[in-house]
């Protein structure tokens, strides 16, 4: 299979599996993106307070606005306008908040680069030692060879010890 075909197949696959928003948002979908403001610190969908004085009206409002035909985004913005950003279950991916979203991956990428260069350095050092081999008589060689193989085998198969 040529690379082009492979790429095409991959694209087709991605198209097939990419999530399709078939049905419109439900109260439960939206309440998973908001934090209940009653002080329980849980997602609105998870607040277990019976007749929660804050959570129940919040959910009722979502239902009402959905019935009025408002979109998910509109409803969420309505809550942000009322309570501030703190009502969102996760910070929106823009502005300063990007620091939270991006820096874990940036840190891992930076660490990956550092590891790559460290490994390269170590491999180079390892090779330098390997080339410093001293030629020995064949007899001795065999004996060392056996010992080396034994040690390496132990090393490979041993655990922490």
């Amino acid at each position: 299979m040529s690379l082009k075909k492979l790429g095409l197949a991959a694209l087709l696959f991605l198209l097939l599996v990419s999530p399709v928003k078939a049905e419109s948002a439900t109260v439960s979908d939206i309440s998973k993106q908001l934090i209940c403001q009653c002080g329980c610190t849980l997602l609105l969908s998870n607040c277990t307070h019976i007749e929660c004085p804050v959570g129940v009206p919040m959910k009722a409002l979502i239902e009402q606005k959905l019935d009025q035909g408002q979109s998910e985004e509109q409803i969420i913005q309505l809550f942000v306008a009322q309570y501030g950003e703190v009502v969102l279950a996760s910070p929106p991916k823009r502005g300063f908040n990007l620091a939270a979203w991006v820096s874990p991956f940036a840190a891992i990428a930076a660490g990956g680069v550092a590891i790559y260069f460290a490994l390269k350095k170590w491999v180079k050092r390892g090779k330098r030692y390997q080339t410093k081999d001293v030629t020995k008589s064949k007899e001795e060689d065999k004996e060392y060879q056996r010992q080396l193989e034994k040690d390496l085998k132990e090393f490979d198969e041993g655990g922490f010890r």
Binding site: L14, L16, V17, S18, P19, V20, V27, S28, Q33, I35, G39, C40, T41, L42, L43, S45, N46, C47, T48, H49, I50, E51, G84, E85, V86, V87, L88, A89, S90, P91, F96, N97, A99, A100, W101, S103, P104, F105, A107, I108, G111, G112, I115, A118, L119, K120, W122, V123, R125, G126, Y129, Q130, L152, F155, D156, E157, G158, G159, F160, R161
Partner: protein
């Protein structure tokens, strides 16, 4: 009585400070008598705290309500197990419990028979005693469990009803034992720095201590998840609450540590990195305690907030971090490892990547946990960082970690040749792709699931095939049958095969997480008596509502008949408890678990006209979380299990006799 408990704590503080100082000076000067006296006072510390604990427990059991702690967390109608559990229900009690565990661990450290690392024990004991002294000071001056009230109340306030669950008996002590356990490896790391013993002695000495602490913390978290699922009644098991995150972070960093010490053992590298990891692990355990006690972040776990206690912990973290990292810096030139590698692609490299990713995940969780504070400081805007953030950021990282556990198994130590790689990766790769295609045909379209589940399959396949190859080789070489050969394989190298079993457990766990987070279905319904509702292939019929009184609460109970595709499968009884001493009602969910999925019913509320609101969830594969957790624990125990102490061989004994 309470006074004796308090006096015992004062003596324990004095003895622990003396012990710490005497250990250091005795060892420096080579004064064996001073070291022996330090050791004795360490034993005395344990005895004294035990007296304190015994007195508090006695006060709890005998309902001595004049002691504020007893009055705040118990009542006379509480059953014995929960009376005992009240020891860790409140701030000062749990700190006393912490100090007690620490002193017991310290005794084990000094009494343990060891061949390696003997010279580290005095310094390590000094560090442990120093830490213990900090806790004694807190107990005496900030949060006194023996504080008396000016009057004797007729009745106590009782235990928070949410805590009246079997989970309460096990979740906190396991978690705390894990937290406390990490003090030991930390102490030995600092001891190694002090004593300039930069070799492998300290990691050999603490590997199993770390494993135990890691296991305890893991079990504690698992029990917490189960408790949340069965008792808190919001339908899930992990909410990324700041305190959950706080107990997850040290566990993650300790996981990285357990892997990276293998590298030091094998290649003599990572000496500094291992120090950093264990210092971080220990600091994170204190950070978790700081979060629960200070109330800086709002969380379901918060104890009665005590700013002074919070600041004390913050100061302690500062001392620990600056002190130990400073010491590490001073010793850094002597700690240089002469690293060399044969190849870029080797099992060693996968360990490096594993460390990077796991620490990266811990960093992401830390950042998410403290980001509300950062945001408020920088922008002045309050924000929340909740489950969606952690799921989205950590999902891919953890998936990569799991993938690595599979790849790691396939790559040999030192060097991997292309031929080897192709041979090793061929069948697991084919199996994974096959699984992906099968899932696709079965109608699964979520791209993350289509990546995740094949990855899980890949890892399981690699580990099982590695086992199979090892077993077959043993069979051929020794002529044993398969079962015996398999058992022999595991016994011959417990750390390694225990580790593999842990990996299998993690994958099983991940399957549970994947299933329950992608395919959970929920419905909120309002039913009248006799009404039915359907969710997936289940039908629930609302049969009855009733209420009855017990000694401490009013119970509202409802019954629903559950049918699976028309077949009756049982009755579900979700309830609500209204405790007399506690404002919020407590939800008792009804769960029907199978290997495939859980049917989970929450009673939300009812009206006078007989309509009742329920929330019904179908959570797929949740059972596998608990099974996976069990497998992880099994693997951890196997990895921990000691080899028989090797008796000196006859030749050695003979040689020794001749020397004499």
């Amino acid at each position: 009585m309470a006074d004796i408990g308090y006096i015992a704590l004062i003596l324990a503080l004095v003895a622990s400070i003396y012990s710490a100082i005497a250990f250091v000076f005795g060892t420096r000067r080579g004064d064996a008598r001073l070291v022996a006296s330090a050791k004795n006072s360490l034993l005395a510390v344990c005895g004294l705290v035990s007296v304190s604990v015994a007195i508090l427990v006695y006060a709890l059991v005998t309902h001595d309500f004049q002691i504020e702690y007893v009055a705040s967390y118990t009542s006379s109608d509480l059953s014995l197990p929960y009376l005992l559990s009240a020891l860790w229900a409140g701030n000062s009690g749990s700190l006393l419990f912490w100090a007690w565990l620490l002193s017991i661990f310290a005794v084990v450290v000094v009494l343990q028979k060891r061949d390696i690392g003997k010279e580290l024990v005095p310094y390590a004991s000094a560090i442990i005693m120093g830490t213990a002294a900090f806790f004694f000071a807190l107990l005496l001056f900030v949060s006194n469990p023996f504080q008396k009230l000016a009057f004797v109340p007729a009745e106590g306030m009782g235990l928070n009803p949410l805590l009246e669950n079997p989970g309460m008996l096990f979740h906190p002590p396991f978690l705390l034992a894990g937290y406390v356990g990490f003090t030991i490896p930390f102490a030995f790391a600092i001891a190694a720095l002090f004593a300039r013993k930069f070799g492998d002695e300290w990691i050999i000495t603490i590997r199993r201590w770390t494993l135990v602490a890691w296991l305890f913390l893991g079990i504690g978290n698992l029990l917490g998840a189960w408790w949340a699922y069965a008792e808190l009644g919001w339908g899930g098991y992990w909410a990324w609450d700041p305190v959950e995150s706080a107990s997850f972070m040290p566990w993650l960093v300790a996981t990285a540590f357990l892997h990276s010490i293998m590298m030091q053992r094998r290649r003599g590298i990572f000496k500094k990195w291992n120090m950093v990891l264990i210092i971080l692990t220990f600091s994170l355990t204190i950070f978790g305690t700081f979060l629960t006690r200070s109330g800086v972040l709002s969380s379901v776990h918060t104890f009665a907030a005590s700013p002074l206690l919070g600041y004390s912990f913050l100061a302690f973290i500062g001392v620990v971090l600056f002190g130990s990292l400073g010491l590490l810096y001073l010793r850094s030139t002597e700690l240089k490892g002469e690293a060399e590698m044969e190849s870029l692609v080797s099992r060693e490299s996968t360990f490096l990547l594993n460390n990077l990713l796991i620490v990266g995940a811990a960093f992401a969780i830390f950042l998410g946990t403290v980001f509300p504070l950062i945001s408020e400081a920088v922008r002045g805007v309050k924000i929340s960082v909740g489950a969606p953030f952690f799921d989205q950021v950590n999902g891919p990282i953890f998936l990569a970690v799991i993938l690595l556990t599979g790849i790691c198994t396939l790559i040999g130590w030192r060097r991997a040749s292309t031929k080897n790689l192709v041979r090793n990766f061929l069948w697991p790769g084919v199996a994974a792709i096959g699984l992906g295609v099968a899932l696709f045909i079965l109608g699964i379209r979520e791209w993350f699931a289509l990546i995740a589940f094949p990855v899980f399959g890949f890892v399981l396949f690699t580990i099982f095939s590695e086992w199979f190859r090892g077993t077959r080789a043993r069979c051929r070489m020794r002529g044993e049958n398969y079962l015996k050969a398999f058992w022999g394989l595991i016994r011959a190298n417990k750390p390694r095969y225990g580790g593999y079993i842990v990996h299998i457990g993690i994958v099983i766990f991940a399957i549970g997480v994947g299933g329950s987070s992608f395919y959970s279905v929920e419905k909120e319904v309002t039913l009248r008596l006799g009404d039915s509702m359907t969710i997936k292939n289940y039908t629930l019929t609302y049969e009855s509502i009733d209420s009855y009184e017990t000694e401490s609460k009013t119970v509202v109970t409802t019954t629903l008949s559950a049918y699976n595709q028309g077949k009756f499968i049982g009755k579900l009884i979700p309830e609500k408890y209204f405790h007399r001493t506690y404002e919020q009602p407590v939800t008792e969910v009804a769960i029907r678990s199978t290997l495939l999925e859980d049917l989970y019913v929450i009673l939300i509320g009812w009206d006078a006209d007989g309509t009742t609101a329920f929330k019904v969830l179908v959570n797929p594969l949740v059972m596998w979380l608990w099974i996976g957790g069990g497998v992880v624990v099994l693997g951890g125990v196997i990895a921990f299990w000691p080899d028989r102490r090797r008796l000196p061989s006859p030749r050695q004994t003979k040689a020794r006799r001749e020397e004499k």
